[in-house]
Structures are given as C-alpha cells and as structure tokens.
Subunit: 538 residues, 2 copies
C-alpha cells in the first residue's frame, strides 16, 4: 500500500480525459506542472522513537526481534489510516501520528503476550489490520503512556476451520478481504462482504468498526455475519460461543463488534458464509428525482423485495457520475432520451444488484424490473451495472488524483428512519454547502436500505489552498456532524467513530451511555493502553 | 391470570379424552379424586411485609398510594413467574418469593422516580411485565436489601408513535402481546412476534429476555425488531437513537436487550413492524426420521428458502402429538398410510408456516412443497397446520392439567450450529432420560432455524411423588444444562437466564465476560437494587 495514498503502484486506474476536464472546469483544479505536491518517503518527519530498552525487550520476548520494527518505512506505513486528513498530513511530511514501533504477532497467543507486555511496560497499543480507517481510528496516540506501538495483525491470516454443515468459516483476524474471498471461493463459498476498502481491509478491521459491505441489504452487515469471535483484552481472553442465537444475557459479541480496538483486539472470528452465487445481475436505472427513487427503495425494502445492492444518487452525484463514467457516451444518450420523455428535471441514477442461484436471480430480476417501472424508473440496462461493479473499489484512487490537484475530498455518512431521511438529506447538504470554502460541490447517495430506514452518503469536493486543508476539513466535519445529530441521524453508518467522530459520541448515546462503555473498558483494559483517543470522548 | 397456573378461568381448553387416557396409561398419573391438590389463595404463606414506613412514603410519593399495593392477592400474583417450580411452590402454599409490595408506575418518569426512591431507601426492584418467566426471572429476591418490590409495568401500555413511513411503532413497555397486535392490526400492521407466552407477556418482557417468536425465521427475534428503546436505570435514563443501523461504537441497545431487569428497566421501545400478511399457509409434513427432517430444514435455511415458521418434532414428540391431537383420527390415517409406504420407522412431524402477500405466499408454498418432497417429506395437508395454529398457545394450559395429576413437566431449550446439533440432541436427551425419576418421557423439537444452526426444545414429562418435585426438577435442570454446555449449545435460546440458569452463565461466556457485565451493572445500578440474584451468578 502506498504510504501517501491508496492502493499499490501500477494498480491505480488512469483518470479519464473527461474527468480531468471536469475537475479543471468545475473546480478550477489542475495537476501541478511540477508533479504531485508531496514529499518523498525519507522526508516524512517522525517523532523520535520513544520505545525504552525494557519495553523493547518485552516486545521482542513476545514476538521475536524480527517482528518488532522501528525502521522509518514501517513507522510511516502505520502513521494513521487512509482518511483525507491522514493523506494531507503525510503528503506534507507530517508523520507525527506514527507509532514508535510496529509489532506483528504471529498468533492469538502472541497477541496476548504483546498486550501483557504493553500493560506491564506502559506502552499504548493501536490494533492495525489493513490500516484503511477514514476516521482516525489507527492514529498512533500515546494517551498517558510513554510509547505507542501499532499492533500489526496481518500475520494472523490463517483459516482455522471451515464448517460446511453450518456454513461458517473461522479465520484469523488479520486476513485481508481478497485473501478471504479467494479461500472461500475455492470451496464454492463467499462471505459477500465488500466494503469500498475491501481490497486492503481486514476481517478484524471490519468487525472492530461495524463495517457494512456494499451489498449489505442482501448479505447483512458484518455484525450479522459474525457467529462468534475470539478477543484478547489486557485483562484476558474472551471467546463467544459459536451458536446461531442465544438469550443468555446481553451478548458480549455485540459489545466487542464495534469496539474499535479500545477494549482489546479481535484475533479470530467465525463468520457466517454462503454458497457463492451462481449469477449476478447488476443494472442501472434513472428516477425523475431523489425523492421518487427513495420512495421506490423504501417500498422494495418494506416488501422484502430489495435487491441485494441498491444505490441511489441525488441529481448532482448523478450528473458527475455520468460525466466521469467510462461508459458515459452510451449512458448519456439514454439520459438525453429520458429527459426528453420526462420533460426535463434532474434525473437520479440508481444501481441495483441481485445475486444468487440462476432461477432465483431470474425471478427477482423480472420482479424488480416490474417494480422499478411501476415506481417510475427507466432502465439503463446491465452495462451501467457492470460499469459500477468494475469501478466499485476505485473511488479512493480517484481521491489521490484529486489530492494531487489540491482538491479536498471527504465523505460523510449517516443513517436514519425513512420518515426522517428527507429532512436529514437537506440539513446535511445545506450544512456542507454552507461550509464549502468557495467553489465545490456536495453530492449524496443512498447506499444501504433497511425496512425502517436507509443510509445517506455525502461526498464533498472543493479546491482548497495549500496549508488550509485541515482547517477546511475540520469545519466541514463539524458542519456535517452537527447537522446529522440535529436531524435524527447517526454520526456514522459504517465508517465508525475513531478519533474524528469521538467528540459527537456523547450526543448520540448520552453521557451515561459513554460511561457504560468506559466501565467495560476499565474492566477489560485497566491500564488504558488500548487505542487511546479513539471512540470514547476525552 | 390464575395465581396458581396459566391463563384465566374459563379460557383453559378441556383436556381431550385421548390425552387423559394417554397420561393415565403411559405415566400412570390420574387426577386425584378429591380435586386438584392445591391450596386456596388465602392459604398461601407470605413473608411478613418488610416495607418500612419511610420506604412506603417514598414509593407513595413516586406513584400515588393507590399504586403501592401490599395486599395478599397482589403479592401472591407477583410471587414468581410461571415456571414449573414456581407453580409447584405456589400450589403448595409457598409464597416465599413474593415481593413486599407491588408498585405500578403510570409513566416512564414515574418508573424513574420509583428507582430513585428504591436506591435511596435500599429497596430491591424486580421489574414485572406479564410475569411469565419460566426461569425464575421475576422471583422477588431482596439481595442485600431490607425489602423488595415488584415494579409492575402493565400501566405503561400506551402507543407513543406510529410511523407509517419507517414502519415503526413506539409503545410503552408494559403493553401485553394481544393489546399490541390489536392496535397494530387496526392500522393494517403486525409485529409478528408470537412467543408461546404471547397472550400474557409484555413488550418489555420480550426485550428484557431476548425473546423469539414462533415465526422468528420470518419475522426475526425481538432483538432484530427493536429499532430503539428507552431505559431507566438507577443511575439515569438511556435512550438509544431510532436509526436502522449504526457504526457508532458497540450498541447500547444490544447491552440492554437481554439484561433481564438487572441493569434497569425498559420503559418504551420503537419496534420494527410490518404490513400484516394477507395470507397464511400452515401445513403439516412427515419425515422418515429426525435427521432427515433436520437436513431438510438446514437446506431450506441455507438457501434462504426457510418458511417463516418451521418446527420439527422427534419421533417421540411426534407420537405424543398425534395421540394428543384433536385432529388425531384423520392425521393418524395419513401416518398409517405413510408407514406402510415407507416400511416402518418412526415418522417425525414438521409444521411449516408461510405468511405474506397472496402471490408471494402462493409462490413460496409451491416452492416449499417441491423442496419438501425432494427432501423425503410426505404432506399432511393444511388441516395439521391449522390445528397447530389453533393450539399454539395451549401448552401452558396442558401443563396445569399435568400438575394436577402429579406430573412433572419442564422444558429445556438451546441452540447450536448445524454441525453440532445431532450430538447436542443425543447428549441432552440421554442426560434427561438418565435423570428421569422413573417412568416418564423426553421429547424434542427444532423450533427456530437459522442459516448457521437451529434451536432444540426438549420437554420432559414424568410422574413425581408429592414433596419431591423440586428436587427432581433441579436434578433434571442440572443434567440438561451440563450436557448442553459440554456439547456446544447455549444455555438458553429464548427463555433467558433468570435465576435458574445463572449458575451456568460463567461457563457460557467466561468469568471475564461475567465481569464485564458486572462492570456495566455497577455503573448503571451502583446500589445493586435491580433484580437481585438474576442473570449474573452470585
């Protein structure tokens, strides 16, 4: 993974000419002539390594010297996640959030030994899977301690059990998405969990952050896919029982899923998998308005007829998507036809995905087409669906291109009941628009639908002056979060709380709610070494 | 509700002659000539009321004098739940688990005032909704306090909001099942949550115990149906946000659902409701063996083709069900035909239920019929399904008749992954059979299916000598729970932990897991007044 951006060299798709033109025309942003404005790896300024000799000895005893890394490259590679602010800082050479060392246990037992060593030696621990947090979830903060390590879990990547009767797979938590799906695929299975970060995020990271895959309407959110987990806390190990359901008190599993490394670390999980679908049908549609599309998605969800994936862009996002799309030409012709037929308006693009057995997909596809037409949608065909599938993991690469051009790009996501959704949409959109530094645009899509409500995902693009990025970013964050809470939304639907949303948590769950989480933390992590400064407000 | 048994006078169905004969022949148990062996209400021995003057004043200040009841009848009516052991004790005149007073708040605010008064005055509080616990969940234990009240929530029975867009209903927690479904029904809606206790259990009770309705495969368990809840703890109020999903840390909602009154009390809940189904199709089937039926249910669940309700009895339960069934004659003819065709064996009865729109039900019904036939099942028709529907809430009435005849009747329920289910079935069955006091029988059914596993529900019937009932019952409980834990099951799938399962909780969730729950309790209920002796082991 590139230390200054997303993905790997050579994997980034080239920015189409249409996109380059649009960025230049609408945002007034061009790639600087002298190449991307970012420092070289060697120029990233790191804090002096603070690991003491006794601390180092204890860590080496836990995992072996070759897995306690204090070199410049390892520290930079673990100096935060992949949010806009992380990348702005690193590109400018600010490595202040780097850990003093990167420690990589090779087993759950070794992970427990690392925690014991850190508790004894006063070292803060930041669990680090794929490192793709966009909410400051892996910033290496020391808290009250003298040093901090990144606990790199990527060596924990084994399959421990595959139960074909129960359709569960027990895997170690450091396994990354593609590795997991490859392994399951050889057995004809899938987890079906594809967040946008899929290519670089880990099973443990998904669990720690309550991740939602793009097709969560069909496959469920990660909390629905965890049958059981193994967890190491400084106070000891927890292993929840692998049962499909239980009434044996409040489930510890639910307390650990979403705990963001603040209580301990997930070391393995038993996941509910499925037989891999024999067929996929992804398609594009146009609605006459965002409201019309939302009403359609609501009616599908409430009739148990939602596609496995359903996304609906507002008019602005639709306009930009179509302009940026590689298949733009053909789709644009359909859009023009549509606009003539509907006498103007600003159409809204929807993408639907249906997966499953051949017969089932055929049946659901024809039922969906009928329901879509009844709801006023015009079909764009499966080409638009396939284009979306091809590009489903591409947005973070595009962000790098935008950063190269001095464009701020950040996303804000929330969810609310259907009744509250329209008010939430307008409130957040207005708040973000009002906080734009000048030129720029705010777009939104619905990406996850439920019977009782849906998520909203906002994207802001705005050119910013070099040096003012973080201040502008913080102002947008404040505007969005305040508007979300005032309008009945949750501060995060699937990005988690991390450091960035932590100041708003008490407003969401109440001071007493925060205190209850603190009580659990106090019991599991009495020395408060686990992921300081995340989730729980200071 | 009868203080000595289930339901109301005049509502109990008469025991068919076939059932009377079977009880006499197989268990050697007859109704005593002198009428049922139970004391009169006035003869129930209660502990001397222990409420002090200052405690009483504080409670009266909170809810008004007319809602602080210390009379004999009120105390007896709240002297425990409706488990076998509760009824044995009460029928013998043992009211030792009665509260000192019954206090009935009229609002969430009054409930909070009661908790504040009790915390200040050192009074233990037992939240009491419908009072149908079968695990000792509402025994009025004092803990370390000088007095104990039952906090009767049945005055909290208002609808607070009905959101037709989001399909959610916000209701107070003391509302009983039939009241809720009547109210929703007038709006064309349903919650679809029908536990066996439905007629007398409350929304708050379902939530406090992680209840599962009979059709949970279609409608979801109660934890899937709670969008948000309001909760009063001695340390203050908690209100979770009404959103369909969130990644804002571990959900407090999941910590409160299943907390069994030990952290505080649910005062209101926003429930995810549905449009009431236009059609129901319930049907009976016979499989050649329990294994064959289980494999069929597994394949349906894993293909997302499970009926909304699926039950499968083992051979012994099938034999007894058919003998006891009011429709016995017709069904027995089918069974005989079946046995001739399959050349013997011990057939196993399955009941399936499909609910929804007319077209959907027709489609699913024909798909299920085809899948059932492929799996080896023989259809018994919809008469058997309708008979099950008619009798779905009758078992507790039958239990009263059995108690009248000196028959011990208790149920044990668990769940496990499909892979573990066969071993679990035999282990628990063998353990219970080994612990039978002499004559008697052990039956089992699968009642809730999931993709990864299913529940098992065991029933024990055994004649016991008067005076030895509780000792025999405790021996069976120990045998079942030990076997469950040794075989990978959970100690409870939907009955909850209460007092009866509490000694086994640490084996299920670990000592550290128990400590985490204790830490949450310490924060929410620092004086430990809430439901002493339940859920958390001593």
């Amino acid at each position: 993974m590139r230390w200054w951006g997303w993905g790997e060299d050579g994997e980034a798709p080239a920015l189409p000419a249409a996109a380059r033109a649009l960025i230049a025309d609408e945002l007034g942003a061009r790639e600087p002539a002298g190449g991307p404005p970012r420092v070289g790896l060697a120029e990233v300024r790191l804090p002096a390594g603070a690991l003491g000799a006794s601390q180092r000895r204890a860590l080496v005893a836990a995992v072996g010297a070759e897995h306690v890394l204090e070199d410049h490259g390892s520290r930079v590679a673990h100096a935060g996640g992949k949010g806009y602010a992380d990348l702005v800082r690193l590109r400018a050479g600010d490595g202040s959030r780097a850990p003093d060392a990167v420690v990589a246990p090779g087993s759950g037992t070794e992970a427990a030994s690392v925690l014991a060593a850190c508790a004894a030696e006063g070292v803060a621990v930041v669990p680090f899977g794929g490192g793709t947090s966009v909410v400051g979830g892996v910033d290496a903060l020391r808290g009250a301690h003298s040093a901090v390590i990144a606990l790199d879990l990527t060596r924990l990547d084994r399959v421990l059990d595959l139960d074909r009767q129960s359709l569960t797979a027990t895997v170690e938590a450091g396994m990354l998405g593609p590795h997991l799906e490859r392994l399951l695929g050889t057995a004809g299975l899938t987890l079906g969990h594809f967040p946008q970060s899929f290519q670089y995020s880990s099973v443990g990271g998904w669990i720690a952050t309550r991740s939602a895959g793009q097709a969560s309407a069909g496959y469920g959110r990660i909390e629905n896919l965890v049958e059981a987990l193994r967890f190491e806390a400084p106070a000891g190990a927890l292993a929840t029982r692998a049962v499909p359901a239980s009434a044996a008190g409040p489930p510890l599993r639910e307390l650990l899923v979403g705990s963001e490394g603040t209580l301990g670390v997930v070391t393995a999980a038993t996941l509910r998998v499925r037989v891999a679908p024999g067929a996929h049908r992804y398609a594009g549609w146009l609605f006459g308005s965002f409201e019309e599309g939302r009403e359609a998605l609501r009616s599908f969800a409430q009739a148990d007829a939602a596609p496995d994936l359903a996304r609906l862009s507002d008019a602005e996002e639709t306009r930009l998507s179509l302009a940026l799309s590689a298949t733009g030409g053909r789709v644009e012709r359909v859009v023009r036809r549509y606009l003539r037929a509907r006498a103007g308006g600003a159409p809204c693009l929807a993408i639907t995905g249906i997966e499953g057995g051949l017969d089932e997909v055929a049946r659901r596809r024809s039922a969906l087409a009928e329901a879509m037409r009844s709801a006023g949608a015009v079909g764009l065909g499966e080409g638009a669906g396939r284009a979306w599938l091809r590009e489903r993991f591409a947005a973070p690469y595009l962000r790098d291109e935008l950063l190269d051009r001095g464009v701020l790009v950040e996303t804000f996501e929330t969810a609310a009941g259907w009744e509250a959704l329209d008010g939430l949409y307008h409130a957040v959109r207005d708040a973000l628009t009002g906080a734009l530094p000048g030129r720029g645009t705010v777009t939104c899509h619905v990406s996850h639908v439920y019977r009782s409500g849906a998520s909203l995902y906002f994207t802001v693009l705005a050119p910013v002056q070099a040096g003012s990025e973080l201040e502008r970013w913080a102002a947008l964050k404040r505007a969005a979060l305040d508007a979300i809470l005032a309008s009945g939304g949750t501060i995060t639907h699937h990005h988690a709380v991390g450091r960035d949303h932590s100041p708003w948590l008490a407003e969401e769950i109440g001071e007493l709610g925060v205190e209850v989480l603190r009580a659990a933390k106090q019991r599991l992590d009495p020395a408060a070494i686990m992921n300081p400064g995340k989730l729980l407000p200071a």
